[in-house]
Amino acid sequence: MSVLQSLDLRRRSASPEPPPPAGKAPAVEVAKLIDVSKCIGCKACQAACLEWNQLDQPIGYTDGTYNNPTDLTPASFTVMRFTEYEHGDDFEWLIRKDGCMHCADPGCLKACPAPGAIVQYTNGIVDFVSDNCIGCGYCVKGCPFNIPRISKTDSKAYKCTLCSDRVVVGQAPACAKACPTQAIYFGTKADMTAHAGKRIEDLKSRGFQNAGLYDPPGVGGTHVMYVLHHADRPSLYAGLPDNPRISPLVGVWKGMLKPISLAAIAFAGVFGLVHYVTRGPNRVTEHDEEEAAALEKQKGA
């Protein structure tokens, strides 16, 4: 995606932080708000995503649920996840549209070793640039939401682009456009947060005391947010992480390990050099040779 992108970058994988674009007002941060309480699980968003992105998802089989395809794939950037939640006599069918959350602090970008394969635009969208992708799968390990998928066909990583190609020309993402119930809203992050506030008020008035906005601080907030009836327990919604953050292991791997390792290698090299210069080579002396010859003679004798 985004080969022809004309958006300014905030971050670029495996690259120094780009300077802020000169002579421009700071970009407005966008967000997609998924109102789970309005979602009817019709999968129009899935269909729109397949159509807009011209994805060729193979026809599968049913697994006895409404989850089809059963998981995200390189050709399915978004899937509905249906959860049957029984509590006492009551029952809820929780339906969550799963896909990239476009973290403010994206674990995929942090993990990516290929310069420019993952970019974050100043509007907050995190996008994969296939031309630069080397297919290492580090983004999969970096992601706290288990989103990117590596294609077996071209060994590149794929995920929701938040329709960066539509957003750049002032269009809402295809999923938001297709959603019949406006369960998917798109706009500035500030507007979406405010809109979520009203929705949460409505849900509280309907007895969902723990309704709330899912904009997890552990990843610096996200540019895809959820309105949840049970914001106190996000994991009810097909395992949405309760408190997502970039794994500490990824933090170590892509954090201090990098400079420390290079320093250690450099230190070893320098140590050798200094040692060689100050102590000099360890040479075999003539005496040693004589001793060796003597021993040889003795043995041979």
Partner: protein
């Protein structure tokens, strides 16, 4: 719909029952989310399965399939017993106060006048009002007389106590009462409830009465004609409303006029019973204009051949003996009584009940023409698809001719949606290959038949050779020209009845309104209800002005809503008898001293003052709505709970009359019904959001989203049968059996019916043996060959089956 999709946003309470709007009408469902998000509306879903509509509902109640009348009658009892009716509305706008004949009675499941031998209410004379000397209906405004409609209704529904409702429907009493209380909250005029239903109500032997029950509730609550009220049928196909308007029904002509019966040999016989005279003083009885609509239609059909002298070519019309609906057709085919069949946009092998009976019928035809944009199971019924269609092609001699038709985006024309809004659509792409529009195909057929009849004559070639077809391009008429023809125009100058020297409309001009239709041959018009759609001002169905001056979702300049661009029917009832809105909150129309003012076209004389006491239900002879249906329904003037033909229990109300007593069962189908000893599980069929009927299984992306047939099984039943999620299951009924993957779910709630556990399974209808989805045996293999007593809509929604674990279907053998 009495109201419109957009109007749903005005409601305070949505009851989805007999439908699953979120899945089957996701785009229309947006108005429910609007009402919820912006109007604080609550949503109730009553359904055998916890559907995707239920997923966003405030309250969900499970119900056994086929018991809606018991539930709704229980609601009526609650409203009446607790005084939760809109009393002033009910008294003024319904027939509640009218007195019914003494002989009317209901006993042991039967109304008066039942003929056991004919399985019919042959004598409906007691299902009638008492009349005074002037032929006017007697009424008791004090509602004291035990024979007044309201009191008869009270007696009739008294049996539907919450306990009885739970016993029949399986809906827990507490949940039922919670819903009653919510519904009752809309009886004030300050709040309204909308009812959204679809095939979940129609596809029963009691289909029409299901809907009637809701209409009665809405009348008791005063919700008819109100913004955010009404009884709203959610139509399926994009233009199924249009095709219904244009006479999909086998005993109608366009515009809900009636096809003559064989008993109506002359025109006078036909019209005399249809010139409905007012039954209450000062009433409009709009059907008095019947002849104007009928004659205009005859002029449109036969042009100059329809004259006053030949009774407007009345003899050209077929006179029916029995209803030739799809069930009857299948029965006749199976009996070898039909030679040929045209299937135009109909996948009859999957769409009619009892697939095996349909297949046997098709195999007895000499020929069948299939006109469809897609490959259908019907066109391939003779083809062996292994277990999925195990037929022997050599044994089938039917010649099948496929005529590829264009799809909607490949042709222009109008389509009418559930809101009765006629909207033009433009051609997006050329149809592929040799496909032609349905109009072109039918025109070609028509012209060739006409030529043959003109050349060869025959017993009575007149109706065919005289059918008017004066389009500019007869082989392929311009759809706009056809719409003009449907709208109608003046054949001669139409004089003003008030001033004969004044001409209301010059000859050749398009009719602006059906009010100008004449019964003297001066006007032509294919279908009166659409008149106004194409006027001298242009094609109104092309209008796309989204403005909504009142904010009530009326959008008067978007397309054209029949009749007369009216968006909410019976809207006069939104104001009290004095012409003042029942509440400011629900203000829609009001009398401003001169005329009825508001954003919508009044369903009423626009300048008829309230003190004229004309009722708001102007189509009825009484001017009021009917809580008591008189003789209009074949199975009784009040709805009554009857079990589906595959009865899970003996009717707890009257075990001797378990099922609908007037149901039509063909002799060949006498042994087609299942009993709970052999088939102890209740099944219902339904649609998925991911698919549209049998079409989208041909579309890759839809197949991705739902690739394969499954059967939804509750956890209780799955455990009892040792079935795990994803197992292959055989589902069998008295009619046949299919295989499907088990979808074991908590969403089918365990219920108790008449003291015993009732397990329900759900079967999506979409999957067949043609298309890109995984192959499946069609679900209608299981369904009973019987329909609603009023409309003959097949009983797809409630039947008995058994399920057991089985092996996967054998893969299909290679085609030769």
């Amino acid at each position: 719909m009495t109201n419109s999709w957009n109007d749903i946003k005005n409601t305070d309470l949505v009851l989805i029952m007999g439908g699953n709007a979120a899945e089957a009408h996701p785009c229309g469902f947006k108005w429910v989310t609007e009402a919820k998000a912006n109007n604080g509306a609550k949503l109730i879903v009553v359904d055998p399965r916890f559907t995707r509509s239920a997923a966003v509902a405030d309250v969900y109640a499970p119900i056994r399939p086929g018991t809606d009348i018991a539930f709704l009658s229980g609601v009526m009892r609650y409203l009446l017993a607790n005084g939760k009716i809109h009393r002033e509305y009910v008294k003024a706008y319904t027939n509640a106060t009218y007195l019914v004949k003494e002989g009317f009675k209901f006993e042991d499941g039967l109304f008066a006048g039942y003929d056991e031998a004919k399985k019919s209410y042959v004598d409906r004379s007691s299902w009638e009002y008492q009349f005074d000397e002037q032929g006017m209906v007697k009424a008791d405004d004090t509602l004291q007389d035990r024979n007044c409609v309201l009191n008869l209704l009270k007696v009739h529904v008294e049996r539907y106590t919450p306990e009885m409702v739970e016993r029949i429907t399986g809906t827990p009493k507490a949940r039922f009462l919670q819903i009653c209380e919510m519904i009752a909250s809309t009886s004030t005029g300050e709040r309204t409830m909308t009812s959204m239903y679809a095939l979940g109500w129609t596809q029963h032997t009691t289909g029409a009465q299901n809907i009637r029950s809701m209409a009665m509730i809405q009348l008791l609550l005063g919700n008819m004609g109100m913004p955010g009220g009404g009884v709203n049928a959610l139509r399926g196909h994009s233009n199924v409303q249009g095709i219904t308007d244009l006479a999909l029904l086998s005993t109608s002509t366009p515009g809900y006029l009636v096809l003559p019966t064989e008993k109506e040999a002359t025109y006078e016989d036909y019209v005399k019973s249809r010139r409905f005279k007012p039954l209450r003083p000062g009433q409009t009885s709009f059907w008095q204009n019947y002849e104007k609509f009928f004659v205009s239609q005859q002029k449109s059909l036969f042009g100059k051949a329809a004259t006053k002298e030949n009774d407007w070519a009345y003899d050209y019309l077929p006179k029916f003996d029995v209803s030739y609906d799809v069930l009857k057709m299948v029965d006749m085919m199976a009996a070898g009584q039909m030679n040929g069949l045209f299937c135009q946009g109909l996948n009859i092998l999957m769409a009619a009940p009892s697939k095996n009976k349909v297949a046997a019928g098709l195999a007895k035809l000499k020929w069948m023409v299939v006109i469809d944009p897609l490959q259908t199971e019907t066109a391939r019924f003779w083809e062996n698809h292994g277990e999925f269609n195990p037929v022997d092609p050599k044994a089938i001699q039917t010649e099948v001719i496929q005529l590829p038709a264009s799809a909607y985006a490949e042709e222009e024309g109008s389509a009418t949606n559930s809101s009765r809004v006629i909207m033009w659509h433009w051609k997006a792409v050329e149809g592929p290959g040799e496909s032609k529009s349905d109009m072109e195909i039918m025109s070609a057929l028509h012209l060739r038949l006409k030529a043959l009849y003109a050349k060869n004559g025959g017993a009575f070639p007149d109706p065919i050779v005289n059918t008017m077809w004066d389009y500019k391009s007869p082989e392929n008429p311009d759809p706009a020209e056809v719409l003009k023809d449907i709208n109608g125009y003046a054949l001669e100058d139409i004089p003003d009845p008030a001033d004969p020297n004044k001409v209301l409309l010059a000859a050749g001009k398009l009719l602006p309104s059906f009010a100008l239709m004449r019964d003297d041959g001066k006007t032509s018009g294919g279908m009166w209800i659409y008149t106004g759609v194409y006027t001298e001002a242009g094609n109104m169905s092309m209008r796309r002005d989204a403005s909504d001056p009142t904010g009530l979702g009326i959008h008067p300049n978007w397309g054209f809503a029949w009749p007369a661009n009216r968006r909410v029917l019976y809207n006069r009832a939104s104001a009290d008898p004095d012409g003042k809105p029942w509440s400011q909150r629900k203000k829609y129309l009001e009398w401003n001293g001169q005329r009825w003012a508001g954003g919508d076209v009044p369903d009423y004389g626009p300048t008829v003052a309230p003190d004229k006491n004309v009722g708001p239900f102007i189509m009825n002879q009484e001017g009021t709505a009917r809580l008591f249906a008189r003789g209009g329904m074949p199975d009784g003037p009040f709805p009554e709970h009857y079990e589906p033909m595959d009865a899970f229990v003996a009717n707890p109300l009257h075990p001797k009359v378990t099922t609908n007593p007037v149901v039509r069962v063909f002799a060949a189908d006498a042994k087609s019904f299942g009993t709970p000893d052999k088939f102890p599980i209740v099944a219902t069929s339904y649609r998925l959001a991911e698919h549209f009927h049998y079409w989208t299984k041909n579309v890759h992306n839809n197949a991705v989203l739902q690739p394969e047939m499954f059967v939804e099984i509750g956890e209780r039943l799955a455990k009892a049968k040792g079935i795990a999620n994803g197992d292959w299951v055989e589902v069998s009924s008295q009619r046949g059996s299919i295989k499907a993957k088990a979808a074991v779910t908590k969403r089918i709630r365990p219920i108790m019916v008449d003291g015993k556990p009732c397990d329900i399974v759900g079967l999506p209808i979409h999957f067949g043996f043609v298309g890109v989805t995984r192959k499946s045996q069609p679900v209608n293999t299981l369904t009973p060959p019987v329909g609603d007593v009023s409309a003959q809509t097949p009983e797809f929604k409630a039947f008995l089956v058994d399920v057991k674990k089985t092996t996967p279907p054998a893969s299909q053998p290679a085609t030769a």
